[in-house]
Symmetry: C2
Subunit: 375 residues, 2 copies
């Protein structure tokens, strides 16, 4: 009998979340994961063998290369291991990820194996979070909130000097100093936060700009924090925007409008709604208040990113909430809701929560409140 | 005329160091890099366009998708962009990385493009570091040394309680606390250190075990620190092994032998020597003192990893210094030299420096001294 429903991953689970999802063990060097009908297994090097035997998810069998290729003098390489798996399990085809390496793809095809590239998700079940996964994401969201609280504390403690710059710990407060404070707090909570955004002034008008240099009073400070828990690999994600001192009216109006877009979008989310409709709802609210989207001299203004994204073992995963998708939100999806507006003239505002889609609404995992002006 | 010497990468430079090497800009979302004869370019999204224009290496032309696919109503997707590049530059073949995604590979082949998978290095010139690269690695090595110095300070400050545990800051000192201290120091020096090893006791006998739990006096503490500089993306890497208080004689002997293996290996390295010979030299020194290698009950003991690896934009890159390679070391290679011995009965010892291969010897970038026992 030929087997026709195999799954194959060759990769490192630190950068391949489908693999991490399956095996539950973080490993920086490539391993082989296969599932052929009801036969499942991972092939790991000796160095990782004991750790995998102890920690692997769902009791997936763990093999050494020499367990697969028996009676081999030297430790067999991954090519020999793949050849033997195909022979032993009579593999006819494998489903692989879009990013499956061409090197192994050519090798397998030469051996007569048909490769089917996953059209959408490799493991569609990843989109529906289990109770255990939700607990892990909740922990990560709590961690993000602790980092946000630290940021808010620093901004509140800061004084404003005669040139309108923030001063904290006897130094002018910079984006870099906020990045470091957030990073410390993340570490102290068994997580890692890199590429944290703490962008003020014009930097805040570019959604991907992490911010640099001194921070002034009266301008928006966009703080987007996404720690990954060291033990579980699950991500938290949240954004708040602050102004030290008084905010100009136009910033206040932008803040209120973005907040409204976030809350109204959350009200509309439930099992069965189209993701694109939720995105459009947010756009409508922003448009109605004059926060329209377009380009000027080749630079985007307004709201020009997705309203949200799935959150789990990847910081950005399906379902994506945007106009470009035909995704239907389903009970058990965990997604961000993060409208924002960005204008080169005065900066940006973004607010982001994490929610679970439920049958008749949502559960919001983010509990952090919204305050624009910090005294 | 058909063009037959193209290079193509589709990926994110945060995880694709060949790409980072070429463009010099860190980007978490996939971009397209191509070089066809003397035509070179990157295609990036609007969100990244300004940043690339400003910071790209060697003035490589930066394109938006709509610059490539002209007169397109919507923003063209990467498939359309690839089609247009092939047509416009009459591409007949592309050299691609081993890890080039099967999805794009199949697409390009369908368009009649031949894909040549790089046999060894995609950009072989990466192995020979320029002066500017060496400066960046030196900075990263200095940063690793600052983190090591912090670790040594903590271990020196620690007291030993009646049960032989280390106590620091009124708490029993753990591997986790050392990880955090190292991480703080890395952040304060504009770098990121994750998966840092600070493993004591039996944990130290597993080279990949980062360590956990309380630390005792009289047992080896292997500290392996590899920070990546936030701005440049270059890595530092170093290992020292400490014992708090007095070390038993067998640990002293192992330490002296590993130290000798490291220094003798460094003495032998120069332009033109075989990497495998350097590895064997270290093995011989260890063997001669009784630190032999093998397996017992399925667990390795002795010296069972590579003596060293190239260091640059990847933490592990070519040339690898082991018995399995036929690499010849060349002037301008930057490599680690890190012999170690590991025994489940008492733990492990590893010492690691970073060196530059020169015409007639080496320059050692690591300046940190070797002390086993900390009072």
């Amino acid at each position: 009998m030929k087997n026709n429903d195999g799954h194959l991953i060759i990769g490192a689970s630190t950068v391949n979340s489908d693999l991490l999802y399956k095996v539950g063990v973080s490993v920086p060097d490539p391993i082989i994961y296969f599932k052929i009908s009801d036969k499942e297994g991972v092939v790991v090097k000796r160095l990782e063998y004991e750790r995998f035997k102890k920690s692997i998810k769902d009791n997936i069998p763990v093999f050494l290369p020499q367990d697969i290729v028996e009676n081999s003098c030297a430790v067999p390489d991954e090519v020999k291991v793949l050849e033997e798996i195909i022979k032993k399990y009579k593999v006819q085809s494998f489903e692989v990820q879009k990013k499956f390496p061409i090197y192994y793809a050519d090798l397998l095809r030469k051996l007569g194996v048909e490769l089917k590239i996953a059209k959408g998700d490799f493991f569609p079940e990843r989109k529906i979070k289990t109770k255990s996964e939700i607990d892990k994401i909740r922990e990560a969201v709590r961690t993000a909130e602790k980092c946000m609280s630290r940021t808010e504390t620093v901004l509140r403690e800061a004084k404003v000097d005669n040139d309108n710059y923030l001063v904290w710990n006897d130094k002018v407060l910079t984006s870099e100093a906020l990045h470091a404070e957030i990073c410390f707090e993340a570490i102290n909570n068994n997580s890692t936060a890199v590429n944290t955004i703490a962008a003020s002034g014009v930097d805040s008008s570019q959604p991907h700009n992490i911010g640099s240099g001194p921070i002034k009073a009266g301008t928006p400070i966009v703080v987007d924090i996404f720690p990954r828990m060291n033990k579980t690999g699950y991500w938290g994600d949240m954004t708040r925007t602050f102004v030290k001192g008084k905010a100009p009216d136009k910033i206040k109006k932008a803040y209120e409008t973005v907040l409204k877009a976030k809350e109204k979008a959350k009200e509309k989310i439930r099992n069965g709604v189209k993701a694109s409709e939720i995105h459009k709802l947010a756009v409508d609210i922003l448009d109605k208040q004059g926060f329209t989207t377009g380009t000027k001299d080749g630079v985007f203004y307004g709201f020009f990113h997705s309203l949200g994204h799935g959150l789990g073992l990847d910081i950005h995963e399906n379902p994506i909430v945007s106009t470009k998708t035909d995704a239907i939100l389903k009970t058990g999806n965990v997604i961000t809701v993060e409208p924002g507006v960005y204008y080169r003239e005065w900066g940006g505002i973004r607010l982001e929560d994490v929610i679970i889609v439920k049958d008749n609404g949502i559960e919001c995992l983010t509990e952090y409140n919204e305050i624009l002006e910090l005294g």
